[in-house]
Assembly symmetry: C2
Homo-oligomer: 475 residues x 2
């Protein structure tokens, strides 16, 4: 008997799907290797628009200098003596303060994260929301995903436990639910209203869950949305909190794009923490944040946090026990969180550069998003909500009947078929809508708005799209 | 109905136990905070001997300068231009090479780890063992624990799946099995023979599993042992591989202490990869390694790898899918792995310092382990195998009957009762044997051999032990 076959593995593992790094991403890696080895392809470089990874090669969004200078000094503290003139004074002071609190970043920290950094996170939250935050109920994590995965694994207490997931969703949620044998209870976002969240759609999903004998445990909200970029208004947020109260749901608020706002005047961000506090609601809330997005874009550090509100101390102790088995989050990520929640202040030597760098990133992202949405909307058969937040666009594409037939013959979802052709022809890697979920018969794809050469990038998208439509007999 | 109570959580979570960061560790943290706030306690500092964390405050094992210099340049590449004289030439060249391959360490890498670093790991393994290694079957991880946890979660395919675990064991294994509802199949190590591994004990555990209707999936071997420090000889390793063949088991080899050898002449390390290759065995093997131990001690970076041998490409694809949901291991950990597998060479500018630093760490650990074992063995009621490897001692303690009674009255395991008294009186935090597993009626504790002031440290242990025995009426 062979000891190890796919059929002998945990069956939940087989059900896990994660399209963001799936077939297309794997194929794009193969193309990258071929180009590196000098092979000739229809394109000169691979553009990884499948993933919000601002600092990757080819996009090269520069890191925030302050964050990296502090990190360099934490790596090798002697640098402050050996090359004192190279670092701004506030950076040297900041690193010295962190070293005093943490010691070596080569040591395990408290499993929940360095207490001093958690205090700084709490102050950041208090300043953002105007309500108190308890560092004892904050957990630093290796990116938001690690926290989401842990919470979902704890909440699912039987194969009949369900969690409400927006459709379209970031596939971490369905992947984690599949892994832990829980039920994804889908509620649809309203594309015709800028991907807004509807209380009725969630109530319908709850009614259906009850019919199916599934017990809903939690409601996931991604705000700003991924892949949609939509932003919730406060009135809707209040209704969502009341809905959680009515149905005894834990509210899982994925708020990692909270500062990626392209029209902050008309579409501002409000945290669920603020709404829950303002309503004096007893709803248990977990809010996730990350250094991978925002202007920091420090995906590779693996840093983030979640804050628990309305959690009893015995539940907090249980979460602590679970994170302690993994020892501690990466220290590079933890100090990245500290730099995110404590950026330079106006009188600091580092401030002008920090301000310039972050303003540039915000402006470029807003401008690219707008240009891309405009140009995609001009293409035949493409409609695209102009996202007010996050890093993505999620255009809907209408495909020729012949293309849909060809996709079926190839055993692919039509939008995956489209995305594979896009990759083969242009080197641009996007994620088909089937990876995020969509209504039956609709097709989308998600692409990031991170690519610097927007003209070249959108130009290639346009040429491909027109050629594809023509190849399959038009719309 | 309250939406969130301990009883509403996943019942597997409740069963998870992880003593290394359990009650004692939490209490020691409280003492540390009290001392920081100026409170008077019977001791002046807390000594965290509960965890192999060499660079923690109070122990302060210095990091390897080479590793940190490379890391500082990766954090802020401009440093090579701004302060070129501060860095050795080979460090600047190494960082430039890594930057060329990786780009920014703020970007997500390949989910399996940077391809170039995996190639370097493969070369390291080939040089160590003399057999080929496939970078495509190597996964970089956020420390060894993350890999162990993933593999166990994939292998458990029903609540009647079991994994053979040595007793005593590192509690990550039982914690992960509890979390994923698998069965820990215990086999006992032989304390009377320097904690050696017995084929008969494993065969007995397998027979018992069959009686209980449990299907054994894998055999865990920790070599060098944790908490025992024992080293396997090659003859035993060959028998273990054959046992895995007979019983269709996957072999999970936790080899994170592979260079922590105190008597390398009489007790050398051989990898299971080498034995499996030499025997031309088809046994599926996973070997785990880490930058947290060895001489690197870079626990906070969260870096490590596992290599799969005799795994089919469809299983590798399944592992890739699972790690892709978590995006990628921390880049700080990945470059730490690179520095571990590619240290400076004799002609490099960094070599003399690297050699001095690593020799010092090896010598200090060997010397402390020996002194501590000798002195513990002289205490009444204490017997301690002089560990040839790893970072720990695991003394057996015979306790007075009155102490055992007092422990029962307090609702504690007797060795936990002893360890709590040790912490309260001396500030030394160890982990009771009940956290690792031991035979009924036996008591042990694990302590690390990392504390620099061995005289002060062992002196405190001795005084406490003698006082404890006397307090409870002698042996």
């Amino acid at each position: 008997m062979a000891p190890l076959t796919v059929d002998s593995l945990n069956p939940s593992i087989k059900k896990v799907q994660y399209a963001v790094r799936g077939e297309l991403a794997i194929k794009s890696e193969e193309y990258r290797v071929k180009l590196k080895h000098g092979e000739t392809l229809p394109f000169k470089k691979v553009i990884s628009s499948n993933i919000g990874n601002p600092q990757q090669k080819g996009l090269d969004q520069p890191p925030i200098t302050f964050t990296r200078q502090v990190a360099a000094l934490m790596e090798w503290p002697e640098l402050a003596k050996l090359a004192p003139d190279v670092f701004p004074k506030d950076v040297i002071a900041r690193a010295a303060e962190l070293y005093e609190e943490i010691g070596s970043i080569g040591a395990y920290s408290h499993s929940q994260g360095v207490p001093f950094i958690r205090e700084n996170v709490a102050k950041f939250i208090e300043q953002r929301d105007g309500y108190p935050s308890n560092p004892g109920h904050i957990f630093l994590t290796g990116g938001a995903s690690a926290g989401v995965s842990l919470l979902i694994s704890m909440l699912i207490n039987s194969p009949k436990s369900g969690i409400l997931i927006p459709i379209p969703q970031y596939p971490l949620y369905t992947a984690t639910l599949a892994q832990h044998s829980g039920v994804a209870l889908s509620y649809y976002l309203d594309e015709s209203r800028e991907w807004s969240t509807s209380i009725e759609a969630i109530e319908e999903a709850l009614a259906k869950a009850r019919q199916d004998g599934v017990e809903p445990k939690a409601l996931v909200i991604i705000n700003p949305g991924n892949p949609t970029g939509a932003l919730l208004d406060e009135a809707t947020m209040e209704k969502l909190v009341h809905l959680c109260e009515r149905h005894s749901l834990v509210l899982l608020a994925d708020e990692v794009y909270q500062i990626n706002l392209h029209h902050a005047d008309t579409h501002p961000f409000t945290s669920f923490k603020k709404i829950v506090c303002r309503l004096n609601s007893p709803v248990p809330l977990v809010s996730f944040h990350s250094i991978s997005k925002g202007v920091s874009g420090e995906c590779g550090r693996r840093g983030g946090y979640f804050e628990c509100t309305n959690f009893s101390s015995d539940i907090i102790a249980m979460i602590y026990k679970m994170v302690s088995v993994g020892l501690c989050p990466p220290l590079a990520g933890q100090i990245g969180v500290d730099s995110m929640v404590r950026p330079p202040r106006p009188n600091d030597e580092s401030y002008p550069l920090w301000k310039k760098e972050t303003d540039t990133i915000h402006a470029a992202l807003a401008q690219r998003t707008q240009v891309m949405a405009e140009r995609l909307n001009k293409l035949p058969g493409v409609s695209c909500v102009d996202s007010p937040g996050a890093l993505y666009l999620y255009p809907q594409i209408h495909l020729p009947a012949k293309a849909i037939d060809a996709a079926k013959k190839a055993g692919k979802e039509p939008d995956a078929f489209y995305a594979l052709a896009l990759l083969d022809e242009t080197g641009i890697c996007v994620v088909p809508g089937s990876g995020f979920g969509q209504k039956e018969g609709e097709y989308h794809y998600r692409l990031t708005c991170l690519c610097p050469g927007v003209e070249e990038y959108v130009g290639a998208l346009e040429r491909f799209h027109l050629g594809f439509i023509e190849k399959y007999g038009g719309l």
